[in-house]
C-alpha cells in the first residue's frame, strides 16, 4: 500500500505535469524555430515541407528556443563529461556561485537574526530600524549591484566577497521580518510566567523567545537561501565575471548560445532546489527534536 500510494499520490501527478510541460515545450520549439528554417530554405531558393522542417527545428546550433533534449545533452556534456576543475564544467561554475551564495546566506541570516533581536528588545531600534530595513528592499537589486561591486572594488575588495554581500543584502530581509515575528510569537501568558519566576531577559530569550521563533526562522531561511542564490548570480552579471552561473548566462547571451543559457538556468534551478531541500530537512529535524507532532 505504501509503495502504491507513493506512485499514485506523488509520482503520477508530478509526472503528468512534467510530461505536459515537455510536450508544450516541444510545440513551442517547432513554432519558434521554424521561421529560421523557412528563411534558410528561401535563401537556398526553395521551400521546405513540414516533415523535413520538424527535425531541423530541434537541431539548430543557436535556436530561439532550444529543445529539451538539446539542453539536457548540454547539461550532460558540461557536468559528466568535463572534469569539475575545468572552466568548461558547469559543476565548476555552479560551485563558484554556490560558495558566494552560502557565504552571503550565512552573513545575511546572522545579520537578520541580530537585527531582529535588537528590534524586539529595544523600542528605539524598533522605531528607527524597521523602516530602513523595508526601504532597503524597495531599491531594485539590479540597480544597486553594480555600484556595490564598483565601490568595493575601489576599496580593494573583490572576488567572492562583493557577490556574497549582494546575497547578504537580499537574504537578511526575510530573516529580519520572520524573526521579529517569531521572537514576538510567545503569548502574554508565557511571558507572564517568566516574570513570575523573576527570569532575566537573557533567560527569557533563550528559554522562551528563541525556541518559540524556530518555525519562523526556518520558513524565512527557505526564502533567504533561494534569493541568496539569485543575489550571487545577479552579482556576477555586472562584474564581467569570468566564472559562475551568472558569467555563463552572460557569455551565453553575448554569443547567442541559447543552449548554454538554458543549461545554466537549469543548473541554477537545480542548485536552488537542492538548497531549499537542505534547509527544509534541517527544519523538520529541528522541529522533530523540539517534540513537534509527527
Amino acid at each position: 500500500m505504501g509503495k502504491a500510494s507513493f506512485l499514485r499520490d506523488r509520482l503520477l501527478p508530478i509526472g503528468t505535469v512534467l510530461v505536459a510541460l515537455v510536450a508544450v515545450w516541444y510545440v513551442f520549439v517547432v513554432v519558434l524555430n521554424a521561421p529560421f528554417e523557412r528563411d534558410q530554405a528561401a535563401r537556398a531558393g526553395g521551400t521546405i515541407g513540414f516533415m523535413e522542417l520538424l527535425p531541423k527545428t530541434m537541431a539548430q546550433e543557436r535556436p530561439v528556443l532550444p529543445a529539451p533534449h538539446q539542453v539536457f545533452a548540454e547539461l550532460w556534456d558540461t557536468t559528466v563529461n568535463k572534469a569539475v576543475t575545468s572552466r568548461r564544467s558547469l559543476v565548476y561554475h555552479a560551485w563558484i556561485t554556490l560558495s558566494a551564495t552560502l557565504l552571503g546566506f550565512a552573513m545575511g541570516a546572522a545579520l537578520g537574526i541580530l537585527l531582529a533581536i535588537a528590534i524586539v528588545h529595544n523600542r528605539a531600534m524598533d522605531r528607527s530600524l524597521m523602516p530602513w530595513v523595508i526601504a532597503s528592499q524597495t531599491i531594485p537589486i539590479l540597480a544597486i549591484a553594480p555600484m556595490i561591486i564598483v565601490v568595493l572594488n575601489a576599496v580593494g575588495i573583490s572576488g567572492l566577497m562583493p557577490k556574497a554581500l549582494i546575497s547578504t543584502y537580499l537574504s537578511f530581509f526575510p530573516v529580519v521580518v520572520g524573526m521579529v515575528k517569531g521572537l514576538r510569537s510567545p503569548e502574554q501568558i508565557q511571558l507572564d510566567l517568566m516574570h513570575t519566576y523573576n527570569a532575566s531577559s537573557a533567560q527569557t530569550f533563550w528559554k522562551l523567545r528563541w525556541p518559540a521563533s524556530m518555525p519562523y526562522l526556518f520558513t524565512s531561511l527557505k526564502v533567504a537561501i533561494a534569493i541568496s542564490l539569485v543575489g550571487a548570480i545577479v552579482g556576477e552579471l555586472p562584474t564581467g565575471a569570468v566564472a559562475g552561473l551568472g558569467a555563463r548566462l552572460l557569455a551565453g547571451s553575448y554569443y547567442g548560445q541559447t543552449v548554454q543559457i538554458w543549461a545554466a538556468l537549469f543548473m541554477a534551478a537545480a542548485v536552488a532546489a537542492l538548497l531549499v531541500i537542505v534547509v527544509g530537512f534541517a527544519h523538520s529535524l529541528v522541529l522533530k527534536r523540539m517534540g513537534a507532532r509527527a
Binding site: 503569548e187 507572564d192 523573576n198 527570569a199
Partner: protein
C-alpha cells in the same frame, strides 16, 4: 523587631489595605479595584468569587506583581509584591496551562528550577516528587500535546509546586475543563493542599468550587471591583465530595449567592 510584629509577619501572607487599581485606557480610566481590605493567613485556602470584571484576577495579579496598584498598600510575606516576586515567594497557575510545547512535561517542570539555578540532581528529585503529587508519574517524557487538558493543567500545577514557594496563586485553573474532570481535580487539589500545607489563593466563578475548596471565601462585585463579603467557612478540613449535599454546605453556598446578587442589584440600579 518585637515578638508581636514577628508573629504577624510569620502568619499573615497577604495583607491589603484600601487597595485600588485604575487602568488608563483609550476610553478613559477604568477602576478595576477599589477599597480592598483583606488579609490572607498562612495555611489559608482563599477563594475569590465574582462575575467577570469584578477584579478577582486583577487582585491575584497585584499579589504576583503582574499589575501595580494605584492606591493603598499591599504586602506579600511582609514585603512589597515586587520584592516577594524577586524572592520567588509564589507559584502562579494561569487559566491556561501555558506549558512550553517544545519541552516535555518534566522539562516544563524543570523550567523554573533551571531559571532559579537548582542543581541537576535536585531538579530530578523535585520533578519526580511533584509529578507524583499531581498523579502524573510516568508522563514526564511526554510532550504537552500528548496529554489531555486536565493532565496539562495538573502538569502546570506541578510546575508551580516544584520550587519552594509557600504561596500558590491560581487563576481559574480549572475554568476550561468539564465538570467531571473539575470535580476530580478539586478533590486532588484539597489533598495536595493538606499534604503541602501551602497557602492558596484561588480565583473562580463557580460557587460549588469556591465553597468546596475554601477556608475563606471572598465575594466580589464589579464596576468598580470591590469586596462585598468575606465568609469564613465552618466546614471541616476533611471534605469528601459528598459534603456538597450537606445542609451546612448549601447554607454557605446560599450566602455566597446572596452576596453575588447584592453586588449585581447595585449595578442594575446604577
Amino acid at each position: 523587631m518585637t515578638a508581636m510584629s514577628h508573629a504577624t509577619a510569620a502568619s499573615t501572607v497577604v495583607s491589603a489595605k484600601s487597595l485600588g487599581l485604575t487602568f488608563q485606557t483609550a476610553d478613559g480610566p477604568v477602576t478595576a479595584l477599589t477599597g480592598v481590605d483583606l488579609s490572607v493567613e498562612k495555611g489559608d485556602f482563599v477563594s475569590f468569587i465574582g462575575p467577570s470584571g469584578c477584579g478577582k484576577t486583577t487582585f491575584l495579579r497585584v499579589i504576583a506583581d503582574l499589575e501595580r496598584p494605584t492606591s493603598g498598600t499591599i504586602t506579600v510575606n511582609g514585603m512589597t509584591p515586587e520584592e516577594a516576586r524577586r524572592r520567588r515567594a509564589y507559584g502562579y497557575v494561569f487559566q491556561a496551562a501555558a506549558l512550553y510545547p517544545w519541552r516535555t512535561i518534566e522539562k516544563n517542570i524543570a523550567l523554573p528550577l533551571e531559571i532559579m539555578g537548582y542543581s541537576k540532581a535536585d531538579q530530578k528529585a523535585r520533578i519526580e516528587r511533584t509529578l507524583d503529587l499531581v498523579n502524573l508519574s510516568g508522563f514526564g517524557k511526554k510532550y504537552p500535546w500528548q496529554l489531555s487538558g486536565g493532565m496539562q493543567q495538573r502538569a502546570s500545577i506541578a510546575r508551580a509546586l516544584a520550587f519552594d514557594a509557600d504561596l500558590l496563586l491560581m487563576d481559574e485553573p480549572f475554568g476550561a475543563l468539564d465538570e467531571i474532570v473539575r470535580d476530580h481535580l478539586n478533590e486532588q487539589l484539597l489533598k495536595l493542599w493538606a499534604a503541602t500545607r501551602k497557602t492558596i489563593c484561588f480565583v473562580t466563578h463557580s460557587i460549588p468550587e469556591a465553597v468546596y475548596l475554601s477556608t475563606k471565601i471572598v465575594v466580589m462585585s464589579p464596576r468598580p471591583g470591590r469586596v462585598t463579603d468575606v465568609i469564613e467557612s465552618p466546614l471541616p478540613k476533611e471534605r469528601p465530595l459528598g459534603i456538597r449535599e450537606t445542609p451546612q454546605f448549601l447554607e454557605i453556598a446560599h450566602r455566597v449567592r446572596e452576596g453575588l446578587r447584592a453586588g449585581h442589584s447595585y449595578e442594575e440600579h446604577a
